[in-house]
């Protein structure tokens, strides 16, 4: 999903009421796109797993 553009970023921030300096959108777009790294475990992720599953894993004796 590496398709954020400066326009997308500017729109997203504006919709949340966060001011963005002119020209910042392009650099932010590159940074956000870098967060999308293919994860080999994504394909195996069970339907019933939710974020609290981590807590259950952590608390296992």
């Amino acid at each position: 999903m590496k398709n954020f553009t400066s326009h997308t970023i500017e729109t997203l921030l504006a919709s949340q009421g966060v001011p963005l300096a002119a020209g910042r959108g392009e650099r932010l777009a590159a940074g956000v796109n870098d967060l999308y790294v293919p994860d080999p475990l994504r394909a195996e992720l069970g339907f019933d797993v939710d974020p609290t599953t981590y807590l259950k894993t952590r608390n296992q004796p």
Partner: protein, 448 residues
């Protein structure tokens, strides 16, 4: 005669018990060193005593000071920021309450990255913190003052927070021992939040033994932080260590040669079986950590970003802006993947007690190279500094950083031991074993 402030906590306790030193002697020695070192390192934000300590307890009479984000009722916590300059807390953090109960003195507040959101120790509002080994180099962050103060022997130990490496980076860069605790080990009640799924609190001190003393005091469940786990904080430092896992080929190919040499030599110094394993996917797990950190930090700061964005430094404002562009579905999927990655991590360790790698794979950069005047290379240099710490926060597991050498510029090199969930005891026992065989932790910077 040894200067009292240069002792370890364990040594100071022994001398207090034998009445060879008094608590007043320890405090006076720290005070003298703070006066001499503060102009060089800017480690302290405030040097007023905040808690006088107690006569009884495992830390009785030991002067400590903490990152300025642990609240104390009636006292100012600036959180390294302009926005919270002069803000007075209405309650005391759980971690400070526990150190108070253990008898420790709290002799001031320490410099930190603005809102703990920076890995270098730069601070536009309170002044950069300088590395005691050479102030033109970064301290690492965000617990910059904590590491600088412990390294320069201004205090015996300090609390830091670690969301993406904020205890371990400064511990490595300043040559002290730092423990990143398991997520949920230490109550975060009354500590400034950055990213609730990643934030941890841990000690920085001269040795693993001292970190164990501080860890025992602060760890344990707290109903005021419902995410704390009901796990014992007892630490047997004589626990045997059987096998250490490492990825030698990765270290030799990806780390700077001086760092690689020091870390591989350190692995051998443990005197236990070494087992080669495939390295964890550092960059993938770091990206996941950053997704969570940015989304949560930006949500935490949303009101101020709407109304006072000009009061953040340019660097912190830019980091916060990024979080508003992360889709909720991506953030939540990364959180859903977390338990599978922890299981994969435990499988990687298999029969090993800990995994060993550098804390920072490159020599410590200068403040100029990583600051606003760092030029086009600055983002790449920052990425090199943080490459090996964030993956640990994504997993939520504990890690211990120990000094293990010096780079070509005379700045410390840090070794990182990473364990299973709640394996702080194993890490600290391994750290003690290493520090019995080596003396890197005894090296201390000198005033020019």
């Amino acid at each position: 005669m040894t200067e009292a402030a240069t002792l370890t906590i364990a040594e100071a306790r022994a001398r207090l018990e034998r009445r060879e030193l008094s608590a007043a002697d320890l405090l006076e020695s720290c005070r003298r060193r703070i006066e001499a070192w503060q102009p060089r390192v800017n480690a302290f934000i405030d040097t007023q005593v905040r808690s006088p300590g107690r006569q009884a307890g495992p830390l009785a009479g030991i002067p400590l000071a903490h990152k300025d984000m642990f609240y104390r009722a009636g006292k100012v916590s600036s959180c390294g920021s302009k926005i919270r300059r002069g803000w007075v807390a209405s309650e005391t953090s759980a971690a400070l309450e526990r150190l108070d109960a253990a008898g420790a003195l709290d002799i001031g507040t320490l410099n930190m990255a603005e809102f703990a959101y920076g890995p270098t120790g730069h601070n536009d509002h309170w002044g950069d913190c300088g590395n005691p080994w050479d102030p033109s180099y970064i301290t690492g962050g965000s617990s910059s003052g904590s590491a600088a103060a412990v390294a320069a022997r201004l205090v015996f130990g300090s609390l830091g927070s670690d969301t993406g490496g904020s205890v371990r980076l400064p511990a490595a860069a300043c040559g002290v021992t730092g423990l990143k605790t398991t997520w949920g080990r230490v109550s975060r009640h009354g500590a400034m939040p950055l990213s609730h799924s990643l934030d941890t609190i841990g000690p920085l001190a001269r040795t693993a033994e001292d970190c164990a003393l501080l860890f025992r005091a602060i760890a344990g469940p707290d109903p005021r932080d419902p995410l704390t786990a009901d796990a014992s904080a007892e630490v047997d430092l004589e626990r045997p260590i059987g096998t250490i896992a490492l990825s030698s080929a990765w270290i030799e190919e990806d780390a700077h040669p001086a760092v690689a040499r020091a870390v591989v030599a350190a692995a051998r110094a443990f005197g236990v079986r070494l087992r080669e394993v495939e390295p964890p996917p550092f960059d993938l797990l770091s990206a996941h950590c950053l997704t969570i950190m940015q989304a949560e930090a930006s949500a935490q700061h949303a009101q101020w970003m709407r109304s006072r964005s000009q009061d953040y430094s340019a660097a912190v404002r830019a980091r916060l802006e990024a979080g508003y562009a992360i889709p909720a579905a991506h953030y939540l999927e990364v959180l859903r993947l977390r338990s599978a990655w922890v299981e994969r991590w435990h499988a990687t360790l298999h029969d090993a007690d800990v995994y060993l790698c550098p804390a920072i794979a490159v020599p410590i950069p200068t403040r100029e190279e990583t600051g606003p005047r760092g030029g086009p290379e600055m983002p790449r240099r920052l990425a090199q500094v943080t490459r090996l710490t964030r993956w640990v926060n994504y997993l939520g597991v504990p890690a211990l950083v120990l000094p293990c050498g010096f780079d070509p510029h005379g700045l410390p090199i840090g070794l990182q031991l990473v364990g299973r969930l709640f394996a702080e005891e194993t890490l600290l026992a391994a750290g003690l074993r290493f520090q019995r065989e080596t003396d890197w932790h005894r090296a201390s910077p000198r005033l020019a």
